[in-house]
Amino acid sequence: MTIPATWEPLSAVDPVLTIAQDLFTTMIDGEPGHLNPWAGADPDLEDPRYTWVDVNGPVVTRVMLTASRVTGERLTRALLGMDTVEYVCDADFADAVGEIANVVGGNVKSLVTNPGALTLPVVTHERPDMDTATCLLETYFGWRGAPLGVGLWALT
């Protein structure tokens, strides 16, 4: 018998915020306090990039991060220990933001019952077609003043 994945524990933002804050504290900022819930209206992201991993199973669930290219470059520099003005190539950008999505997705997966395998990260300039998907969570965090979108979507 196949037991469907249960995603209800993640319908509130707090578990995802906690996962993201742990990630940013330990691997990006080196100290807590720089990632918080976004205050105010949903922001418009300039030149956005969409990064996601899917958790396969009876219900394919997508964990998607959205950030401007500039913010993604800042994250890449932080992860790689680069200078603040150092050039970020596309490969490093995709690798870094993909790994952030991978860590968030892996930890989200660990919170729910009966999930399937985690896919490798995908990074795109265009928002993926999710017209038929059901939004489980969509919110924004603020990292050092820059907005980061986080969403969970049931695709099937």
């Binding site: 690798d95 930890n107 985690l118």
Partner: protein, 120 residues
């Protein structure tokens, strides 16, 4: 001590290696592998003392890498550093012969506390 670090993310390999240095293992001679299949070839060739591997990688996953090694009779100490740390995956890792599983995100303290008992 020769160590193979396998992860398809160059960023994560760099972070793992940097964290190993911060944890005090700056004397380790580290060889990088960008997926499980490459890691298998490098392990066969260089016969490291220890393997730290991601789980979810293209070509060959970390768990398939570990199982391939054990099928060959290769008992190189092996551990996972992966984004998924569920009880089920830890059990799967242990049953396949892994020493431990460190879940991302991690700190130098977590590395030290987890790895030290196995290299004493």
């Amino acid at each position: 001590m020769k160590v193979v670090v396998a992860d398809d993310s160059r960023v994560m390999r760099q972070i793992v290696i940097r964290t190993l240095r911060q944890a005090g293992y700056d004397w380790w001679e580290i060889e990088e592998a960008e997926d499980g299949a490459v890691a298998l070839e490098k392990i066969r060739a260089s016969q490291p003392d220890f393997v730290l591997s991601d789980w979810n990688m293209p070509e060959m996953t970390g768990i398939d890498l570990l199982r391939s090694l054990r099928r060959e009779g290769n008992e190189t100490p092996f551990a996972f550093v992966t984004s998924e740390g569920s009880a089920a995956m830890r059990q799967q890792a242990e049953q396949a012969g892994a020493l431990f599983l460190i879940a991302k995100p991690f700190t130098a303290e977590i590395f030290r506390d987890t790895i030290d008992p196995f290299i004493a």
